[in-house]
């Protein structure tokens, strides 16, 4: 699953922008990227011209079943679905782009939008049924819980059992550098909103993160913008190990490819659990329809069994470590000072020799 599939030419500028500071440097952003960078877009016509416009980080093929189901109960609505990266999405809503619904995997950015008054409140029986950790102030609602996992090829393990903790992974990498040199993939947190969220939360939760980053940095890792590309690289054999990949996407891809020689490992010492969230932007006009779609997503999010839906339900959120908490604390790492400090440390550890995906 790709959270930010950006066109290569613009990536450098975007990275610069991120380095200058997210959110609070809107003015600079506007000059650098005047228009929303759309990765994909599709209009699902309804019986009338009334259009519900959605901006989302989820790929078309992932979200299409949801739109189809929604249009069964609301056939009169035309749905205009736009796919963008989480950072782009955040920027667009901040700039006042007219969307009726914003769905993103970057919880921190979504929460900041809500905190800064850029979201409208919505309340219904469905939202009342949500557990407290899955919503904030009737402004932001989680409808999936998706864990971060490690994907690695069995070949790289050479018969050994897959590592269960970061310490075991560190030992594996330290003991077998030849197997993993130039064969490790992870998020470029400077690029990816979700990657940055995973990295900051992991750094906050376990000190093994920095040691692991340092080991990986020594093995010249490849940095990616998106989970999808990392998983594809493992499947194609280019990578032996992809660290911090969205588990649901990895599982789906493995099932598609029917590859038994690739392991999906969830770390036992700590694992991030991301909540995919929806907000109704302050600029939304079709708020009723947006609320109805949120209610439908929450209904699916609260289902007991995974079923055939591409995205997992919230019941994953009850795992050992719990989901990343929705709350103002998420904004801490978005502060320019913190971001600057974190990226500096991250680069020290990981980008000893910057390798950019060709």
């Amino acid at each position: 699953m790709r959270d930010a599939r950006l066109a290569g030419g613009l990536r450098l500028g975007l990275r610069l922008g991120l380095r200058l500071g997210l959110g609070l440097c809107v003015g600079l952003w506007a000059t650098l990227a005047a228009a929303l960078e759309v990765e994909n877009r599709k209009v699902y016509p309804g019986t009338t011209d009334r259009t519900l416009s959605i901006v989302s980080t989820a790929d078309l093929e992932v979200f299409e079943p949801y739109i189809q189901r929604f249009q069964q109960s609301h056939p009169e609505l035309t749905v205009d679905y736009t796919v963008a990266s989480s950072v782009e999405l955040y920027r667009a809503i901040r700039d006042g782009a007219a969307f009726d619904l914003a769905i993103s995997s970057a919880m921190d950015l979504q929460l900041k939008l809500a905190n800064d008054g850029l979201a409208q409140s919505h309340r219904s029986d469905r939202t009342d049924a949500l557990p407290d950790w899955a919503r904030w102030r009737d402004l932001i609602f989680a409808f999936t819980a998706e864990p971060a996992v490690v994907v690695m090829s069995s070949r790289a393990l050479d018969g050994a059992p897959p590592p269960a903790t970061r310490q075991e992974l560190i030992t594996l990498l330290r003991d077998n550098p030849e197997r993993f040199r130039n064969a490790i993939g992870t998020y470029d947190v400077r690029d990816s909103g979700l990657g940055y969220l995973f990295a900051t939360q992991e750094a906050r939760s376990t000190d093994a993160y920095w040691r692991l980053s340092e080991i990986m940095g020594r093995l010249s890792p490849e940095l990616y913008c998106c989970s999808g590309q990392m998983v594809d690289a493992v499947i194609s054999g280019r990578l032996s190990l992809a660290y911090n990949v969205l588990g649901s996407y990895a599982a789906q891809r493995m099932a598609q490819e029917d590859r038994r020689d690739i392991e999906i490992v969830q770390m036992q010492d700590f694992a991030n659990l991301m909540l995919r969230t929806a907000i109704i932007p302050a600029t939304a006009t079709q708020t009723t329809a947006a609320g109805a779609l949120i209610d439908m997503l929450l209904e699916l999010g609260l289902r007991e069994t995974p079923g055939d839906w591409p995205l997992p339900p919230l019941s994953q959120g009850t795992s050992d470590f719990g989901p990343i908490r929705l709350g103002p604390a998420l904004m801490v790492y978005l502060d320019p000072f913190n971001r600057r400090a974190f990226l500096a440390e991250w680069e020290n550890a990981l980008v000893q020799d910057i390798v950019i995906e060709p």
Binding site: L24, A114, N115, D116, G117, W136, R137, R204, R325, G327, P328, A329, M331, V332, D335, P336, F337, N338, A341
Partner: protein, 456 residues
């Protein structure tokens, strides 16, 4: 208006009013305290958050540096779902945070944290500012850290507590109203018991009340006792007066009558004898009238509150006949009494008086050597005493009017009477729920008077 409201209602309303006032007061106090407590705890967290941030401020190569600790915002997220804003200003320059966030006008100094409530992003916010001075570049730079949070959490907490307090106050009020009703009844119980003790008394029971009463009722009891004492004295005095008056009048009348009779013995001329006879008859008439007037007054007085004796009508008839027998014997009039079992409940003195008047009439209007028939019967809940004489009957006029006061029948020539006898009898029977039936006997033309009473 309020004077006519019952004491019980007045007490209840007053107590309930006090309870309502106390309920409102306690609700307001609890709400206010809850609001203050919630606001204070928010202030404490805001102050802690700002202080936590301020403690990371340092100088690096002449630049002011800081980190935003995770806990600084997570502690705010922990107390409520309020929106959080922050801003760090070094000198005139905004280092980080929300540029346009207002800061408390009352600037923070040293260890003191400044608080203020204001508006931001369309909502009311509470701000806390902490000030630190950092040596950077040319000299010391004052750095002010402001953390702000919206107030919906505080409002929610205090609103919730206020609603809870309102519910509790309402419950308190309802319980208090219930207790007020109970208290009012309980405190009026002695008064009611007192009133019942008074109203249970018989008409002539004027003994002082000895009943125990609360001190508040003692004056009422005293006043009642004094009133009854005075009333008793007054009744006794007027009774004595009437008796005395009767005595004073009747004794000389008796003398006159006795002297007249003596004179009659020695009177030679028929003319003077006739005159003496008239004197005697006038004396008889006046004494009889006086007696019946007294009787009538007694009936009127006693009829208002009848004694309830169980009376055997057979015995009543026997006694009344015995009392009149000497008078009847003078005319060789015999009483023929036929009794069957009949009982009534009533005032023996009054019924005897009624029957006596009827019998007296019968004897008076009967010719010599005749019989007065008295029959007692009871059937279907009705008891009857029928007195039939062999006299001239009740005459031609409307019979009903005979019981009117001072009315005498058409056939009363030469008989002394005031006309009150049947009136007294009719009044007594009416007071007992009965009636006096008057008619002429079917044969022989005598009067037939029936006393009708509800049987026991």
């Amino acid at each position: 208006m309020i004077a006519r409201l019952s004491i019980g209602h007045r007490l209840t309303v007053l107590l309930a009013g006090v309870a309502a006032l106390l309920s409102l007061l306690s609700w307001w106090m609890v709400s206010e305290l809850a609001r203050q407590a919630a606001a204070r705890s928010q202030d404490n967290v805001l102050a802690a958050s700002a202080t936590t941030i301020a403690e990371t401020i340092r100088s690096e190569q002449g630049e002011v540096r800081l980190e935003l600790p995770y806990s600084a915002l997570s502690m705010l997220g922990a107390i409520s779902e309020d929106r959080v804003f922050y801003k760090v200003v070094a000198g005139e320059r905004v280092l980080t945070g929300y540029d346009d966030l207002p800061v408390p006008t009352d600037a923070a100094t040293g260890a003191r944290v400044a608080f203020e409530t204001g508006q931001y992003s369309g909502e009311a916010i509470r701000m806390a500012s902490v000030r630190r001075t950092v040596l950077a570049g040319a000299g010391p730079v004052p750095v002010v850290v402001t953390v702000a949070q919206t107030l919906s959490g505080v409002d929610a907490v205090s609103g919730q507590l206020s609603r809870l307090a309102a519910a509790l106050s309402l419950a308190f009020f309802l319980v208090a109203v219930g207790l007020s009703v109970f208290a009012a009844r309980a405190s009026l119980r002695p008064l009611n018991a007192f009133a019942q003790a008074v109203s249970r008394r018989g008409p002539s029971d004027l003994r002082p009340l000895r009943r125990d009463a609360p001190p508040e009722l003692a004056p009422l009891r005293g006043a009642l006792n004094r009133l009854m004492d005075r009333l008793g004295q007054s009744i006794r005095r007027s009774e004595d007066f009437i008796a005395e008056a009767a005595h004073r009048v009747r004794t000389p009348l008796a003398t006159v009558r006795a002297q007249a009779e003596i004179a009659l013995r020695s009177a030679e001329s028929e003319e003077s004898r006739q005159r003496l006879r008239r004197i005697i008859r006038a004396v008889d008439e006046s004494s009889r009238s006086a007696g019946q007037l007294l009787d009538h007054a007694t009936v009127a007085y006693r009829a208002e509150d009848l004694a309830r004796d169980r009376i055997d009508l057979g015995e009543l008839v026997a006694q009344a006949a015995a009392a009149l027998e000497p008078t009847a014997t003078m005319k060789d009039i015999a009483f023929h009494i036929a009794t069957s079992q009949a009982r009534v409940v009533g005032d023996a003195v009054l019924l005897e008086s009624a029957l006596g008047n009827v019998l007296d009439n019968a004897v008076k209007y009967s010719p010599d050597e005749t019989t007065v028939h008295i029959a007692v019967s009871a059937e279907e809940g009705v008891a009857r005493i029928t007195v039939t004489d062999e006299g001239p009957g009740l005459g031609e006029g409307p019979i009903e009017t005979l019981t009117e006061r001072f009315r005498r029948g058409g056939n009363t020539e030469g008989v002394v009477g005031s006309g009150l006898g049947l009136t007294i009898a009719a009044d007594v029977l009416a007071a007992h729920g009965g009636r006096l039936d008057l008619r002429n006997a079917a044969e022989g033309g005598g009067a037939c008077v029936t006393l009708v009473l509800p049987a026991d």
